[in-house]
Amino acid sequence: MADYAVRITRLNYSYPDGTKALEGIDLDVRAGERVALVGPSGAGKSTLLLHLNGVLSGAGTVRILGQAIEGGDLREIRKQVGMVFQDPNDQLFCPTVFEDVAFGPLNLEIPSEEIPKRVEKVLRDVGLEQSVRLRSSHHLSLGERKRAALAAVLVMEPSILALDEPTSNLDPRNRRHLIEVVGGLPATLLLATHDLEMALSLCPRLVVMDRGKIWADGNTRSLLSDAHLMEDHGLEVPLSLRTLGNVRGD
């Protein structure tokens, strides 16, 4: 395996209407590393994640496990980079949960006799009962839909997992469960989130993004404790760090 799971060099991206979404992004993520991308809404976090599997392509270089996306084998790259979207309704488009989870492996031409075993295992891993497999995703609660969307990606056994706001709109129990599931995964993790407590508990490294740029990159606890940095980029020091009293610049 390459030393760097993700290498992004001078990445720029503008939306078709001319809005600059990413400006000069340089980011290296080592294999097995867990990185949280934080920043205000519209900072470019989701846009950056969509560059990891070539769904969006801007100017600059994005390398996944040593392979450049530009001109690379997108099928192989999309097998390696699992992307979980913010709204599970965008991701669960098949008539049943089983088919949604099987959609990726079928596209990757994994032998059909292996797919049901994989689907059942991954549904178990994310804590979904086997009874949901033949249900439509309209029948699931938001927490279950989020887990199904995660299962739909984990079943492809990606080396890199990109999660976009995985805990948004979840109740505390479902949030805690999802954090436990994600925390137990061996993949390299890039997590775009507003949930700073989750970033603190899951990711040793934090990247602060704002207006399409990276403003800080370092130890999660240290950056989240910097009240000025948080304030400047529309964030807040997490409550758990405030109560511990190790906030700088307050």
Binding site: L50, N53, G54, V55, R75, R78, K79, V81, G82, M83, F85, D87, N89, D90, Q91, F93, C94, P95, T96, E99, A102, F103, G104, L106, N107, L108, S112, I115, P116, L134, S136, S137, H138, A152, V153, M156
Partner: protein
């Protein structure tokens, strides 16, 4: 929010449920065509087809109350169509009863088709019978996202109701409705874009691959042969 699914009883385990979707698509389409073919003033033929449909309903194990409730949905449309009939000439009643019987029978057959076959199986059946992939995929998305859109409309209506007191004038109401529809359309475009990105992310090339499709068994040709025989006998006796 509670949704009404057209394939609500498709997970039952009756002999009709075990048939391949293609068998049911062909069989029930032929049955509908035969019902439409019955000329007015042939009560025996209608009785025969009602009898057959009743047997199929019994075999399907779908609750009668559900079937009855669904069938009533068609009544307003039939009554509306009945307004255009030539009531003054005396042929109105015969035509109206034929219209009512035909539409009720067709609806009963469609209820049987959709409640003995999961929607996904129907789509697969259509695809395997040569229906274009893009059409089948769009039907699938329509069914999947109709509920999401319905919920979105409900939320927009609630948001509207929370910010107004009393009824607005008709013109203002229409203007509001227009802007709500426009917003819904834009949101649908955005959702479609995100869905496409999600599909690409999981290696899609535009096709919906099928895992372990249901195979033809001896039941399928037997069902089609039985149905064909019944239609032939009913036609012969008429």
């Amino acid at each position: 929010m509670k949704h009404s699914f057209i394939d609500r009883y498709s997970a039952l385990d009756s002999p009709l449920h075990l048939l391949d979707a293609r068998t049911k698509l062909v069989g029930f389409t032929v049955l509908i065509a035969a019902v439409l073919w019955i000329p007015p003033g042939k009560p025996f033929a209608f009785f025969a087809y009602f009898f057959l449909t009743a047997i199929l309903m019994g075999i399907s194990q779908i609750p009668l109350t559900y079937i009855a409730a669904r069938t009533l949905v068609i009544l307003p449309f039939v009554l509306l169509a009945g307004l255009a009939l030539p009531w003054k000439t005396g042929a109105g009643f015969a035509l109206f009863s034929t219209l009512l019987l035909r539409s009720s029978l067709c609806l009963l057959i469609l209820i049987l088709l959709t409640n003995t076959t999961r929607f996904v199986e129907l789509l697969r059946g259509l695809r395997r019978m040569g229906c274009p992939a893009i059409l089948v995929m769009n039907l699938g998305f329509l069914y999947r996202y109709l509920f999401v859109l319905t919920e979105e409309v409900m939320r927009m209506r609630q948001a509207r109701d929370c910010r107004r007191v009393g009824r607005a004038r008709a013109a203002a109401e229409m203007k509001l409705l227009g802007s709500m529809l426009g917003t819904l359309l834009l949101r649908s475009f955005e959702r479609a874009e995100r869905m496409y990105q999600a599909m690409l992310s999981r290696g899609s090339c535009g096709e919906f691959p099928i895992l372990a499709p249901r195979r033809f068994t001896w039941r399928d040709p037997a069902f089609l042969a039985g149905l064909g025989f019944f239609i032939w006998v009913a036609g012969y006796l008429n």
